[in-house]
Structure formats: structure tokens, C-alpha cells
Amino acid sequence: MDTKAFQSLDCLPGTLREAVINLLYRLADDELVIGHRNSEWTGHAPILEADIAFSSMAQDEMGHAQAYYQMLHQLGEADPDTLAFGRKPREFRCAALVCLPKGDWAFSVLRQFLYDAAETVRLTAFVESTLVPLAQLATKLRGEEKYHLMHGRSWVLKLGVGTEESRGRMQAALDVAYSCALGLFEPTEFDEPLAQAGIAPRESELRRQWESAVAPVLADAGLHVSEAAKPVYGGRVGRHPEALKQLLDQLQLVYNIDPTAKW
């Protein structure tokens, strides 16, 4: 493995530049879309603390998306606002998991847990990235992510061993969400160059780490992963559930009316 460090985004040679741009779109779009989904609980969560938690996580994820979009901007892409508000659904590179509607509370907390576990695995790997700006950002984000994962894990355990109804709802949520969560690790043509340059591990490796991180928590919660769970792919190449279009219609509403509006 070539372990030469890239001190800045400008140091990337042309081939890797394209790979890093693709990676950053995947990271940023996942964060933006799940951030928006979390914000849909603001004012609607079952208890006040849950409301504050999802609103806080929404704010965190939006902030993370902005930081990744800023890196994209440094690599010559449009400015962060244009990237978030000015792109069509097929230009987004997010996984199906984050696109799905918020569903019931069980679905939202379970989705969030699966997502945060994946993000933690990714960020932990990025701390060692040869791409120094990514390693620095990951070091920072990991400290924040820790609280999301603690929150998600405690809800999964609480509802998994709660009442018959809560357990049933959690299992139903897992049956839908698990396949989509596997889609977070959709392989791309950029896996090899990124891994060989030491910028990011292969998606298959991240998936393996994620599975061993979530399995014990799901087992403790009494939830079962279906043997038949097959990854839902397509998000990383711009094929998304219809739900993404509806989400973006809402997220981009003001920008579409007046791109120069200040609010």
C-alpha cells in the first residue's frame, strides 16, 4: 500500500481526485438527507428529550454535510448551498437507508442506530486516512458521533426488550432497514484506488466491521436479522426510492423559488 500522505486536497493527482470527489458526495449526501429526516421529528417526537435529541442530531448531521460540501467546493465543485439545494435527485449519491420516510418512532431510532454505527466505523477508519484534511475532519466528527451512537443504542435496547408491541415494531423496522443499511456499503469503482492510496478502506471491509459492531446490540435487544436480507444498492449511482424526490422537493423549496433568497 502506498502510504504517502496527502497534506492538502490540492496534492491529489487527477485520478484520485475524482475518487475523493465521489467519496465526499456519498458522505455528504447521506448526512444531509438523514439530517433532514431527523429534523422531521422536531416538535413531533414522543417525549421532549427525544425531540431535543433528534433535533440536535439533525443539526449535527447538517453541520457534517456542510463540512464535506466545503471540501468538495475546495476541489472545484459548486459552493455548499448550491450542492445541497441545487441538485436533482439523480445527482445525489446517498444510500436508500437515509431516503426512507421517518416511519414510526421504532423505525427512526433503529435506522439512526444502524446509520450511526456505520458512520462510527467509517470515521474511525478515516482518522488514519492518508488524506490529511479528511483525517482531521474525522477526528473532530468522531467525538460528536459518539453521542449519537450512545443515544441510538440505548433506544434500541429499551424498545427491543420493552413491551410486546415495542419489540414487534422494532423487529418490523429491522426487517425493512437492515437491507437498506447494507446498501450503505455499496461497492463503487473507486473502492480500489481509494484503498490502495490509503485514503479509505474498501466498502466490503467497512461492512464487515459494521456487522460485527451492530450484531451484539441487536442480539441483546432480542432482534433477529433475516437470513434473506439482501443489500439494497443503487444509491451510490443515483438510483433512489421515490421518497428522496419528495424529501428534496421540501428541502429545496425556497431555493427553487428564489436561489438568492436569504433567510
Partner: protein, 197 residues
Amino acid sequence: MVSETQKRRNRTATRIVDCRLSIVDCRLDAGAAGGSSVANRKSPILRALESVTDPEIPVLSIVDMGMVAHVRIEREKIAVDITPTFVGCPAVGLIRESVAAALAAVGETDVTVNIVFDPPWTSDRITPAGREKLREFGVAPPGPRCGAGQLTEPTHVPCPFCGSLVTELESLFGPTLCRSIHYCHRCLQSFEHFKPV
């Protein structure tokens, strides 16, 4: 006779002084072409930065918070690097404007304020003086670093009002991104804790 508490206070006071000196000595770098005029500008610049507060915790300056990563002075130009507490912190834009305004007020008008993630801000950067001000404000200061990757829940945080350790975590998320909510079983009230990150 000096009590134990008083001795502890004195030791804290010494650390505060040391810490401030280190800010002046290490974090204010004068450019090569600076000379004595740069040296004369150092303390007004530092005082100006100390007048900028975090709008979400108005008793703490950005210097107390450890958010001033670096100040570079080169002739009339000043570059200030601010390392934000949380990446999604909505106060960053305001802090950036306030830094420029505070420096302008002491005659420094050629100012660039950069938002950086290197060094990453962690709660370890809050100065001893900052921790004391947090406690007086009623927010329990962060404990020693938990390690960003570890799932150690902030339980048994000392109550900022009575010091009791018989407290429990009520909510990991609070009124701002940087605070969690706890309950003290001794003085029977909720309090906020600045999260260790």
C-alpha cells in the same frame, strides 16, 4: 492558617496564570518581518480576543473555550484560526464577525478569520479559568477526555451547585449541541453538563 480549600484555590489560580501566558507565548506567532511593533500589538490583540464570547455560553470568552487555535501577525495583517466546538455549531458565523469587529476596535483592520479543524477542538482545550466560569454559570465542566471512540456515558457528573456525585444522566442532548442534562439527587434539581468530546 490556610485551609485545604484555600490551598486548592491558590493552586488553581497559578494554573490559570500559566495557561494565559502560554496563550500569549505559543499561540500568538509574530511573523518574521514583525519587530517590536508586533510585540506591542500582542496584548491589545489578546484582550480583544478575550472580549469575544461564545453566544451560547456568554460568560466564557473564545480564549477560555480554547477556540483560538492560532494567531499570526505579519506586518499589518492578522490571521486568526478559530477551531469550532461542534462542526454544526450555528454560532460560528457570529463568532467570526465578532472577532473581526473586536480587532477592528483596537485598530486592527486587516484581519482574516479562518475556521479550521486542525487542531480539532476537544473539551480538553477549555482553560482552567474557563472551567471555573462554567461551574459558576451552573454548567458542570467536562471531565477528562473520554476518548472519542469510546462509549463511556457521562454518568455521575459532579453537580455544579452542590458538588454531589449522586447524579444521573437524564438526556444526552440538551439546549445546545455541546450540553447534556443531568439530575442531582442531593439538591434535587436538573443541571447541564458540558459534554466531553
